[in-house]
Amino acid sequence: MSALPPSPAAPLEALLRRHGHDPSALLQILIEAQDIDGWLPAPTLTQIAAAIKLPRARVEGVAGFYSFLYDRPVGRYRVLFSDNITDRMLGNRALMDALCRKLWVEPDKVSEDGLVSIATTSCTGLCDQGPALLVNGRAIGQLNHRRINEIAELIRQQRPLEQWPTEYFQIDDNIRRRDALLQLDMLPGAALAAAVARGREGWLAEMQASNLRGRGGAGFATAVKWASARNATEVRKVVVCNADEGEPGTFKDRVLLNTCADLVFEGMTLAAWAVGADSGFLYLRGEYRYLRPQLEAVLARRRAAGLLGKGILGEAGFDFDIAIHLGAGAYVCGEETALLESLEGKRGTPRIRPPFPVTHGYLGRPTVVNNVETLAKTCLIALEGGTAFAATGTAQSAGTKLLSISGDCAAPGIYEYPFGVSIARILEDCGASDTQAVQVGGAAGICLAAYEFQRRIAYEDVPTAGAFMIFDGSRDLFEVARAFVHFFAHESCGFCTPCRVGTALLKGFMDKLNDGHGAKADLADIDWLDRLLKNASHCGLGSAAPNPVIDTLQKFRPAYERRLVSLDFEPAFDLDAALAEARQLTARDDPGAHLQTHEEDGR
C-alpha cells in the first residue's frame, strides 16, 4: 500500500488541544491520532513530539512499544485473529489461512491495494466464544467458515463496519453460575451510601474484617493496600482499576464491565472514600475498546446522580471522578507498575519496587491499583458488612471467585464459586469429560494433571486470577506449552536481558523440538533456562514465563520425550542442507561435499 498523503493537521491539533498538550497523555494521544489515518506516519509523530514538548525518540519509543500502534501502513481493514491456545483448539489457524486466501493477502502483510492486512494477536478474551478476531478494534467471536466467507465478501465490497451484520459484534456474557456477586442486584449508590454512613474509618474497618484479597492473582490484602495509601503523606491520591485483562484464558473482567459496570465504578469510589483519593482511572485493555462508549455512558449517569464529581452524596470534601484510559495491546501492562507507566503515557516497563505504588504510584502520588473483580466485591462488603463477607470461602480466601472457563467442555463461560471449590467439581459443572489437564491462572499459572483434580481453588492451594482452560485427552500438552512460550516471547517488554533473551531462547528450544530436531541435551538446557528466567527476571512476566514448561515437563514429560530424535545432542538445522549453496556454486557432489546430519557412532 502506498503511503497515504499526510492528513490535514487540523484533527491532530484538535485532539492535542483536547489533551491539553499533556505529555502524560501521550499514549492516549497516539491511540486517537492513529484513528485519523489508521496508522502513525512519521510527520504525525514529529508533530505530536513538538506539541507536547517531548523528544521525538520518546514518542517513537512509545509508539513502537504497543502492538496496536503502527508506524507503517496497515490495511484499511485490519484483521487480527486471536491466537490463544483455546482459539487454536477451535481451528483459528485454518480460518485465518482461508481468509488470507480469499483476500489474496499473506499474513502480516498489507494487500497490494492497501485494503486489508491480516495477522494474529494475543488472547482477546473471547475464549468462551472463539475462535475470535478483531477487525479495526471491534471484536467478532464464534468464527466459522461461513462467517469467514461473509467477512471476506464484506471486506471486498469495502462495506464500513457499521453496515456489517450486528450479530457479528454480539458478545455473549455466558454467565453459567452465579453466587454472591453475580446475584447482587444493587441500586447504584447503595453501597456507597452505606460506606459513607460508616465514615472513612468505619468503612476501612469493614474492609479489614472482610479479609478481601486481590482478585488479579497476587492475592494481596486489599484493606492493607488501602490503609497504606491512606496513610501516605502526599495529599493527592489516586485509585486505578486494572482492566488490562491480558492473561490468556481470562475474560471475567470483560463480563463484569459489560453487565455490572456500576459495581466496578462504585468499588472505585468506595476505595476513594477509604483512602481519600480525588482521581480515578479505569485502564481498559485495547482489546476491550468496544466497551468504552457504554462505560462512558455509565460514568455520565453516575456523575448526573451525584455519585461522581464534587461532594459525592452531599459529603463535603468527597470529590472523586474517573477517567478511562486505553491500553494498546501489551500484556505486561497488567503488571501494576507497568500499568502506571502506561497511564503516564510511557512504555509499559515495570518499575523497580520499592517504592510501592501505594506511596509512589501514578505521577508519584499514592495510588491504589485494584483488579476489576476486587473492586466490584467491595460493594458486597459495604452492603452486608465485612464479617458476612468473610463467612464464605476458606480460612485464607474469603468470598467467591469468578472463573473464566474455556477449552474442552460443554458449557464454557463465567462461573462464580465460593473459594475452596475443587477442580473436579468445576469440571463436572461445566460438562468436561476425559479431561487430561487444566491450566489454572492462564499462561503464567499452573498446569494441573488429573491426579490433582481434588485440589481446590484458593490462595492456600491453587491461586488464580480466574483463567481455567480445559484440555481433554485429544490434546498435546507440549503444543499447549509451546503456544504459551511463544506468547511470553512476544509479550516480553524487552527491558531486562534474562527475560528478553531467555524467552527467545526458550521459544527456540520448543520450536527445535517441534521441528523434529529435539535431543535429550535440549531438555537439560530448557531446565537451565527455566531456572534463569525464574530467578533473574526483572518482573513477574519473566519469572512466570517458564511455568508452562516447568509444569508440563514434570507432568507430561512423554509429550516432550517422544519428540526427541537423539538421546544426546542434535543440531537444530540440517548440516548437509547448509552445504547445498556451496555445492551449487562449485558444481561439486563428491562425498566430501556432503555432511551427515546424524553423526555416525563414535567410540
Binding site: 552445504l579 562449485t586 566430501g592 563414535g602
Partner: protein
C-alpha cells in the same frame, strides 16, 4: 592465584582453532610462567603446540573459532567424540564472532564478490577442488553443532581468565569467572 591440587594423573588436553584467528591460543600462551605449572598437571594431545594431527582420547578439549565449513564440522565432531569435557574458547566459538559477520550476506554473494567480481581479476572462478572443504551457508557457534560443556567468553579471553578456568577444571571445581576476569575492558 591459589595453588592447584594435583590430580592423580596428568590430564590430557587437546586444542584447536576452527574459524578463528588463533588469538585465543596466543592468549593461552599469555599465562606465561604458569605454563611451567601447567605442564606438571597436563599433557597435550592434538594441538598447534604438538602438531599431532588426529585427536585421541582426552579429558579436556578447547575449541577456538566457530564452524564455517565442512572440515570444521568433522574436527569438532572428532573432538566431541574424544573429549570428556569440551569447552568453547572465546567469542567466535561462543557466538560465531567476526567470521559470522558474513551471515547477513548469502554465501554466493560472498564468494562471487571475492572470486569473480574483484577488480583486476580476470576469468575468476569459485574454487571447486575436492581437496577444499565446502563452506556452510552460515557460520555457526560450535554449540549449534555439538554439545558443549563450558563456555569461556572473551575476544580473546585474557591469560588470567584462561588460567583460572583451567585450574578450576583441573582441581575439580566448576569453572566460574567473576568480576574482572569477565568485564569488557
Amino acid at each position: 592465584m591459589s595453588a592447584v591440587p594435583a590430580p592423580t594423573r596428568k590430564l590430557r588436553v587437546a586444542t584447536t582453532s576452527l574459524a578463528g584467528c588463533f588469538g585465543c591460543h596466543m592468549s593461552f600462551l599469555d599465562i606465561d610462567e604458569h605454563l611451567f605449572e601447567l605442564v606438571e598437571l597436563i599433557e597435550f594431545d592434538r594441538s598447534p603446540l604438538t602438531d599431532i594431527k588426529e585427536v585421541g582420547p582426552c579429558d579436556i578439549g578447547l575449541i577456538e573459532g566457530g564452524v564455517c565449513n565442512a572440515e570444521n564440522v568433522h574436527v569438532l565432531r572428532a573432538f566431541r567424540r574424544q573429549c570428556k569435557t569440551l569447552i568453547a574458547l572465546g567469542a567466535c566459538a561462543v557466538n560465531g564472532g567476526l567470521p559470522a559477520q558474513r551471515n547477513h550476506l548469502s554465501l554466493s554473494e560472498c564468494l562471487r564478490e571475492v572470486y569473480q567480481f574483484r577488480p583486476g581479476l580476470e576469468n575468476g572462478q569459485i574454487p571447486n577442488d575436492p581437496e577444499l572443504p565446502l563452506p556452510l551457508d552460515k557460520v555457526r557457534p560450535i554449540h549449534e553443532v555439538v554439545r558443549i560443556d563450558y563456555f569461556l567468553p572473551g575476544c580473546p579471553p585474557s591469560g588470567p581468565a584462561i588460567w583460572k578456568f583451567l585450574t578450576d577444571l583441573i582441581a575439580g571445581r566448576t569453572p566460574r569467572l567473576t568480576g574482572g576476569l569477565l568485564h569488557y575492558d
